[in-house]
Symmetry: C2
Subunit: 478 residues, 2 copies
């Protein structure tokens, strides 16, 4: 009972202290726990079940688009990491180094992979010889390590789970197509599975991935108005190919360098789900990644026939949804709070009176709305309701994002907006790194992306007043 | 074409040089590749697809038996590894040590997990308080690292993929039940999915897992008569619980230690598949883990209607099996060899003459037998044939194992058998470590297990002649 009490004890109000609200939800919805290793998290069964559903659905999309999974070693020899100059400069400062194997000092240090471009390139240089070997469309699900100083569950941890796609193509056009294809896979996945709307665009040079020719990103907006980079897709051109000597013989028997891409999303997406959809009762899970979509809570369980009927309904519904039944001796009230905290999309209540009327009560987690539904119609109504919840969550998140997206035409407006109205700021930019740096220094906001959907807000840079090149989304970010 | 030629070039004869045959198959069936990291392998798409099918089906069994997946950090602080005395002695000599994070030397070394008992115990000590919290039935899919000197793809590599189950129970009876339950899950999985028969039994004290009270094993026999430990399940009793202080309050409000288990199988199972079922044409995959179960090879593709008919069949069969079609411009002969090398269970040939007769040719990979089947019956015949192939493979492997299982009644017989007849040797043992050591010294054979199914071969130890306690399976092992 002590455990239940903790669950229903109020969590911090999200409007009062959003970071503390986040920490409370992660803890009380039993998503993660702290570990003895500073900066590393334990992903608990409920959190991991979300990751498994996310992984399964994303993996299907990768396979539909022709990708194959592989597994590369978790270690990278120091000399291999150093082969591409920008890449090593970007990552070397934040890697974990293995120096000893058993009792012996290693001749060469190995880093624990922070990302695996170098390993894939090394492998590609061995297996690609002819145009017939192209494209190579590989993906890997694994964990990577980056030595972060400040960490937060899901958002920034020293070790995190992710997937990293690595592809090699015959031409620059094909690698560019692939880069955008996978960005779209991510964007569609966020919208259709996670109910999260994203802005698609290109990162500025400053924010580009170490070694990339172009980095594209999907940016989402959290409930508190802070941005979250939710997935990236990089076009490497032939930079890595030249560093690693990845060449193929084309149809005219001439040696050519391949063109490469990489793209990834991480367990960070779970952080996005929490911060986009959650409320003051806890987690709100979009139905398609909810480990339990319907929780059946029998009321007056001791009455004859209640448990039997509830179980009968569970059996029937298991064909159309992920259903669980709670037959523990906790009170219905405790159970209601518990599954609200865990974000279960639909609660199905059934008691003796309902059984008399051949009906149940369905309570939506997202709106708290309750409806009575005939038992005979459940198999049809539940999937429709889950879809409706998905659509409502997406609409609500889109509304929140749009309401928190502002326009700034000059620096004063920009500073005022960033300081007083948390959200995205759309503003023109000259393309100069100096203006980007100045804006960050003045406001801590960063350029999130140059969106594909450009708008002409004005023709001058919001910072320096010179001729503008792009409209940029700016914002404070996680 | 150069690549095709390599594929059909003869591999080493398995009866002449089994280790080289193994290496050839792994390479030519495109299962793994070498990497820049000594002792670590790259698992290529075809090898990884086998692992995914294996993982999926095993994971379902874990979930059916009530287990939940979690994710623990990949690092273990040195002080945590040292908490259980036997365990640290067993593993410390073979772990990789991280000493630096970025530019900084760590205050405490971290080892890359060789296994995660210590992390699970540390977590359990935090989350288990009451009998209501028990049992905890956790599992994790991840990679682990052990600093091995000599490595072979799948069989022994520095890093390998595996699952590790870690459970905590209220009583010794429950932990013993769980240990045996999971051993049975492994044994059934090997038989029903991998078509590999196994001997179930207990390891002797000498071969026990570091920190376990009892270790159980499934042992399989490879084509060459060497044994392979294919999965283990350990009962820890309350040893780890005492070292880590994992206590719960029972129903009488008394503090008790939990009783724990752990159990695991690895990518080594892919090595077992290769060495149990493979032949001189390459890999032979049991249908239930074959990424492609049916490969359609159209013959005389240029003839009108052949490709269309082949594709029509592919569409239809995709509902009942994992089917691929090869429309490349390689000759049918090349393709036949290629898919034989890759162990695809059924080859479906279709040409103009077959189409006239409304039939196809089905060639079994395991027996090379060819049958003509009406196109109308394919959807029914293919699943039945796949089952038949599974059963044949299992029968053949069982026959091979039984024929290579010998009995020895005295030391001379034992030595003679081990030296001249590769296989299992069943022999009585007094239970004394000295005899086990002596047998290993004389023959390099080790005790594989004390099988659950005991036989009374004689009443004296095969080594010392004293009173025998157990019948033991012995053998040289991978």
């Amino acid at each position: 009972m002590a455990k239940d009490k903790k669950l229903v004890a109020a969590i911090t109000d999200m409007e009062q202290d959003f970071p503390q609200w986040y920490t409370d939800v992660v803890k009380k919805a039993e998503l993660t726990d702290y570990s003895s290793v500073k900066g590393c998290m334990i992903i608990k069964p409920y959190g991991y079940a979300i990751w498994e559903l996310l992984q399964k659905q994303l993996d299907e999309k990768f396979k539909e688009t022709g990708h194959e999974n592989v597994y590369m070693p978790m270690f990278i020899p120091e000399s291999l990491l150093q082969k591409e100059k920008d890449h090593v400069e970007g990552f070397a400062p934040e890697v974990a180094w293995v120096t000893h194997g058993g009792e012996n000092k290693l001749q060469e240090r190995l880093c624990v992979r922070p990302t695996s471009e170098t390993l894939f390139c090394d492998h590609y240089s061995n297996i690609i010889q002819s145009y017939r070997d192209l494209p190579k469309l590989y993906n890997q699900w694994c964990s990577v390590v980056r030595w972060e100083k400040t960490t937060r569950p899901f958002l920034r941890t020293m070790e995190f789970l992710w997937q990293e796609g690595h592809t090699a193509h015959a031409t620059a056009e094909e690698s560019q197509e692939e880069t955008i294809r996978m960005l779209n896979v991510y964007a569609d996945f966020c919208r259709d599975v996670l109910a999260i709307p994203v802005i698609k665009g290109e990162k500025t040079e400053k924010e580009r991935f170490a070694g990339a020719k172009a980095t594209y990103t999907i940016e989402s907006l959290m409930h508190d108005g802070k941005a979250l980079q939710s997935g990236t897709s990089h076009n490497f051109g032939d930079g890595f190919a030249k560093a690693f000597g990845i060449q193929y013989t084309d149809k005219d028997n001439k040696l050519q360098y391949v063109h490469q891409t990489s793209w990834g999303v991480t367990t960070r997406l779970i952080g996005a789900i929490i911060m986009v959809h959650g409320d003051n009762s806890g987690l709100v899970l979009p139905p398609r990644i909810a480990p339990t979509q319907v929780i059946i809570v029998p009321v007056q369980m001791q009455k004859e026939g209640v448990i039997e009927k509830a179980q009968e309904i569970k059996e029937k519904l298991s064909k159309v949804a992920r259903v669980k039944i709670d037959l523990t001796d906790k009170s219905p009230g405790w159970k209601f709070s518990e599954y609200e905290m865990k974000g279960v999309p639909i609660r199905l209540e059934i008691g003796p009176k309902d059984i008399e009327k051949n009906q149940v009560v369905l309570a939506r987690r997202d709106t708290s709305e309750k409806i009575f539904v005939s038992i005979d119609e459940l198999e049809e109504k539940i999937p429709a309701l889950l879809d409706d919840i998905h659509n409502s969550l997406l609409a609500k998140a889109t509304k929140n994002r749009d309401e928190k997206t502002y326009v700034a035409r000059n620096l004063d407006e920009f500073i005022d907006t960033v300081n007083n109205k948390p959200g995205f700021v759309k503003a023109m930019w000259c393309g100069d790194r100096a203006c980007e740096d100045k804006i960050k220094e003045l406001t801590t906001a960063t350029s999130r992306c140059i969106p594909f959907e450009q708008e002409e807000i004005s023709d001058t840079c919001v910072c320096c007043g010179k001729k503008a090149k792009h409209m940029v989304y700016w914002g404070k970010a996680y």
